[in-house]
Structures are given as C-alpha cells and as structure tokens.
C-alpha cells in the first residue's frame, strides 16, 4: 500500500487512480456542514492546500476548564466518516478558495465536485461505521469552533497510516458514478418486472 504524507504534492495527486488504497500520514481537518459555511465566510490559513475529513468525531474532554488549544485535553474515541453529499454545495468553492488537495468522506460526491478536483485533487473514501478502529490512528492537534458542537467543530487531527480508497481521481473517474450507472440499468429492469407473489 502506498503511504502518502501531508501536504500532498501535485505529483502525488496525479499518480492516484480510482481503486488505489493509500495510507494517509500527517494532518487532516474535520469539517461538516456548519464548518464548511464558516470556512467560506471566513479565512482559515491553516487548511490551505490541506485535507478535509468529513467527520464529526466522538471526543473525550479531560478537563472542561483547560485551554481549548491544549491537545492533551482531548482523546478521540470514535471517528469514522460522515455522508459527503451534504457538502456537495460548498465543496467547489472550498477547493477554489483553499486549494484543498484531498477530501476524505463516504458515499461519494456529485459531478460538480468531480469537475472541480480535475487535475488537482482527489476524493478518498473511508469506511462508514469504523469509528473505533480509525480512532486508534488519530490524535487531536487542535480544535476550532467548538461552540458549533462536538460533531460540527473543526478538529485538526494527526493521523498515522489512515487507510482510504481513491474513489474519485483527478482524471474525472468516479467509482460511485460507475456503480450508479450499472445499478440504474438493473433498477429499470427490476421495476419493469412484476412481483408474482400476490
């Protein structure tokens, strides 16, 4: 398996193809709906050229009164991906504004996102529901906007050998599109065939 370190370079991105499994090492930033809106209305220098992880982690806070920037105050308990399609509407603008190199999530993203990563970015799929396993590979570096709530805050995470699948590459390929097209043919055939039971 290919190991990649953040920040990803242009060469890293272009050599990736759908179906590749890679191990991500370095820094990633969680962001869900609220964080995406915030990132578009404000500027966050630290995510420039970085990786966004669609995730609302379950985090243990050691001491509520401690400095929020103290990374020893937080332990990741469970941190799998959330559904990426909710972020479709914000993503092309986020990629444009911050030069995001990779998005990690689940369920895939739409054709506008596929267009906007062309030649410069990838979408990587983590497996939904693997929160316990992934938490072992992650440490909190920092948290911003905790007032949005635990799932919606922007958690800066240090990850070690985080395994993800390239499902949308920089060459306009998407596994989700292929699966959807193939399933559409079968779906149309199935709804044409009548249920014989009753």
């Amino acid at each position: 398996m290919l190991k990649l370190k953040t920040p990803f370079s242009q060469e890293d991105i272009l050599k990736l193809n759908v179906g590749d499994v890679i191990l991500v090492n370095g820094t990633i930033f969680t962001a869900r709906d609220k964080a995406h809106k915030y990132l578009l209305e404000n500027y966050a220098e630290q995510i420039k050229g970085g990786i966004i992880y669609h995730c609302g982690p379950l985090v243990k806070t050691i001491n509520d009164n401690m400095n929020k920037r103290d990374n020893n105050n937080y332990i990741i308990i469970s941190a799998g991906p959330t559904t990426s399609s909710r972020m479709n509407q914000f993503t092309p603008a986020i990629i444009e504004k911050y030069g995001i190199k990779a998005i990690i999530g689940k369920g895939g993203m739409d054709s506008k996102v596929l267009d906007s990563i062309k030649g410069r970015g990838v979408y990587l799929s983590a497996i939904g529901g693997l929160g316990a396993l992934y938490a072992k590979l992650m440490k909190v570096k920092c948290v911003e906007k905790l007032e949005f709530g635990m799932p919606e805050a922007i958690w800066e995470l240090e990850v070690k050998d985080f395994p993800v699948i390239v499902t949308m590459d920089a060459k306009e390929n998407s596994i989700y599109d292929s699966v959807q097209q193939a399933s559409k043919k079968r779906f149309l055939k199935l709804i044409g065939a009548k249920f014989q039971g009753i």
Partner: protein, 276 residues
C-alpha cells in the same frame, strides 16, 4: 437509581456491541463477495466490531438518536420511567457512550441528546421490557414515505407497487447511508403511523420469520431483488447491498396507501433488557 444504572448499561451495550444476527450476516456477506474492495470493506467492518466490543468503545462516532420501546405494567408510572431514561441518557452523554447529537432547530445550538420513547402497556405485572435502538443519521436521511399510486415510478396500489417503492429508495440511497443496509417496511396506516411502524420493523432479528406467508415471500424476494442492484458495501459495488428486509402490513384509509421505508446502516445497534 438501580433502574437508571440498568438503562445506562443497556445504552453502553447498544453503542458498543452489534447484535449477533447482524454480525453473522456480515460474515456471510464477506464470504460471498468476490471483488477485493468489497471483501476488504466487510473484513474491516468485522474487525471494527470486534475491537469496539473488546474495548467497550462506540462502534460508530454517530451514536444516533436513542429510540426506546418500553413495555411495562400500569403500576409503573410512565412519567417516572421517562425521567429515569432521560437521566440515563444524560449520564451516557457525559460519559462518552453517546455523542451529543441533539440540535435545537431554531437556534442551531447543541443540547446533548434527546431520546424518543414509545410506551406500551403490558399485562405482566412483574416485568419491564426495554428495547433500545441507536438510529444513525446517515441512513435516516435516505429513509422515506411513499404514496401509491406513483405515476413517476409506474407503481400501483398493490404489492408490486410496494416492491417498486423499496427498490427506488435503495437505488436513490446508493452508498450514502452505509450499506449493506437493513430495511424496515410498513404498508398502510396514517403518515406518522407508517413511519413509526417501518422503524419498528428494524427491531426484528434478521432470523425472525414473518408469520404471514405472503409477507415472508415478499421479504425474501425483496432481499434478492435489491441485491441484484449491485450497489454493494459502502456503495462501491458488490453482491450485498442489503442484509435483510422486514415488512409489516396494516390497515389503510380508502383514500390512502402509504409505504414507509426505514433504512438502517450495517451498524444496526439494537439491544433489549427485561427487568423483574
């Protein structure tokens, strides 16, 4: 306090342990897959299930909406049971068994967790039966209610129409709600009853055989039909898109024909306790 701690253990167990029927179905699905991505996804899922159980850690960070089904004798106060359940939920939220998942729609503020509680009266005086499902949000978003007839789908007011609705729901969901799915279907009722009954079907064990033979046949055919779609684990293609389909049929108003489709992710967290 004793009941609070029993409910707290139930919450912890539900959040950290997958029921055996679901785990076994995932194991079977893994054996059946031939493509390496989907086989690998299923073995990672099984590995995560073992780890979460061993370390008593929430399997998924989305610990969902807690939905309780309480069956008790009328000598127990429902007001008191509700207070105790709320208390246990608050302790579980502080104690990291549950992620704070309740958000106030008007001001967007996080407010911990808010359980949904369904009560039913039992004739048995000495027992309280409490079932709990922690319902994930991703798969809830791809669930829905259909009305028959549906001209767009060419679906009529019969079982074939119902079949088309369920296929449509799964086709539209693709990989968004974490397949392989478990699907609860309810036919008939008023709109809120249909939704609620389809959700309750998810509490049935995958091994439970429908007592109504037409519905048993229907469940089997739905399972086969949906798995022909090829959406596969996490929507990346494969043989297993659903692990089970459970169907309940009821009464409808002559003007209405609702079909409720409740979809659960593979991570269907449901457990129960029976207290004397």
């Amino acid at each position: 306090m004793e009941l609070t701690s029993e409910i707290l253990s139930l919450i912890r167990k539900t959040s950290t342990e997958i029921p055996n029927d679901i785990r076994d179905a995932l194991k079977n699905a893994k054996e059946k897959e031939t493509n390496s991505i989907s086989k690998n996804i299923l073995s990672n899922i099984l590995e995560n299930i073992e780890l979460a159980k061993k370390e008593s850690t929430p399997i998924c960070q989305d610990t969902g909406v807690p939905i309780f089904y309480v069956k008790s004798h009328n000598s127990y106060s429902q007001i008191e049971l509700r207070r105790i359940i709320n208390e246990a939920i608050n302790i579980a939220t502080t104690g990291i068994s549950l992620r704070p998942n309740a958000v106030d729609c008007l001001n967007d503020k996080p407010i911990g967790n808010k359980p949904i509680i369904h009560f039913e009266e039992s004739a048995e005086s000495s027992q309280i039966e409490i079932e709990l499902m922690l319902k994930g949000g991703g798969s809830e978003n791809v669930s829905g209610i259909y009305q028959l007839p549906n001209t767009e789908l060419n679906a009529e007011r019969n079982m074939d129409g119902v079949r088309i609705c369920v296929l449509d729901a799964v086709f539209k969901a693709q990989g968004k709600g974490c397949p392989p799915y478990i699907i609860g279907v309810a036919i008939g009722g008023t709109i809120e009853e249909t939704a609620s009954l389809s959700k309750k079907e998810l509490m049935r064990s995958l091994n439970d055989v429908n007592k109504i033979s037409e519905l048993k046949m229907f469940e089997e055919q739905m399972l086969d039909d949906i798995n022909l779609l090829g959406i596969g684990p996490m929507g990346l293609g494969g043989k297993t898109t659903v692990l089970g389909v459970k169907v309940n049929s009821g009464i409808r108003h002559p003007a209405s024909f609702f079909v409720g489709v409740s979809i659960s992710c593979w991570c269907l967290r449901r457990q129960s306790i029976c207290l004397n």
